[in-house]
Amino acid sequence: MVTEAQIWAWLGEVPDPEIPVLSLVELGVIRQVDVGQGVLVKITPTYSGCPATSVIKLDIEAKLRENGVENPRLETQISPPWTTDWIKPEAHEKLRAYGIAPPIAGQPHCPLCNSSNTTLISPFGSTPCKSHYKCGDCLEPFDAFKCH
């Protein structure tokens, strides 16, 4: 019989559809795994209107079925609400390398040159979880994870 640890390990291999350098586990959207009565995975959306949520569910189901889990149950859990505090610390470095400033309180640092001389261009970026900045030193425009 499959263990909870095994499920977590598989889910750790599923990339987020919009930020593929992070796994769903690193993003903190997997809230609970239970193997008591069949496999149950509880997922929380990052933003309530995030269009990636349905893709995430599909990817999880595909991953589990590919590993022989029949009829996994996926439930959405909204409470407590997702926060960027749940993004694993090791994921911050991956985000930076990918060109996204990780969520920190205060002014984001440029992911390219690490300058803190950055300006907000728009509070909304390419996805609901990011805002758009530009660097005053290397002039690179970049996305920053909203601290939330």
Binding site: Y47, S48, G49, I78, S122, P123, K146
Partner: protein
Amino acid sequence: MFEFLLRMGDTTLVLGHRVSEWCGHSPVLEEDIALANIALDMIGQTRMWLGLAGEVEGQGRDADALAFRRDAWDFRNLLLVERPNRDFGHTLMRQFLFDLWHHERLSDLCLSEDDRVAGIAAKCVKEADYHLERSKDLIIRLGDGSAESHQKMQAALEALWPYVGEMFSDDTLDSEMSEAGIAPLPSSQRPRFDKALNTTLALATLTRPENDFAQLGGRSGTHTEDLGHMLATMQFLQRAYPDARW
């Protein structure tokens, strides 16, 4: 309870659709992206409110059925959100007045004695907070901007002002919800709204209209003509091809 949830969900649904009408038409790219993101948040929040409404009703209707298979008179949204977009300043002013109310409303609902309501509110209030920061900032910049932007923002405020009172009007359903500990009376939010509004309007050099006459009816199903036109577009696919799926 069902009606109360419709009031929340229909309001975010109608505003979400209105804001989405800007997609591809905004004055600048950043605003286009911002409006599309706000519309998405609104629709996501709608899914939670109407999803719960369907559950509470217990007649097998899900959020989609409630959104796409009801007529205008079944909608319980605030009149403010069904007002047409008109120009960008008008859209922003509508968003600002809504965000200010919405943020207060959700903050109160986080304390609801109904866990499901409190859970949805806690999820939504973080988004509402972010929306309010943006709309407040833009109201100040455009109000206290050029002569033309100032004049447009003042005109928008005056045109939308008659729809503000409805957000804080109480009826029998509100009393029931308040007694049950589910949601406080809307009127109890007004002082906080006024205070925050006056602060922002002062910074934006805009003048608050004096006449507090309020158009009522949205929350009990009496809507302006504009809602029907909007629904004709929004519901077309599900009306023409019931149960169509992607």
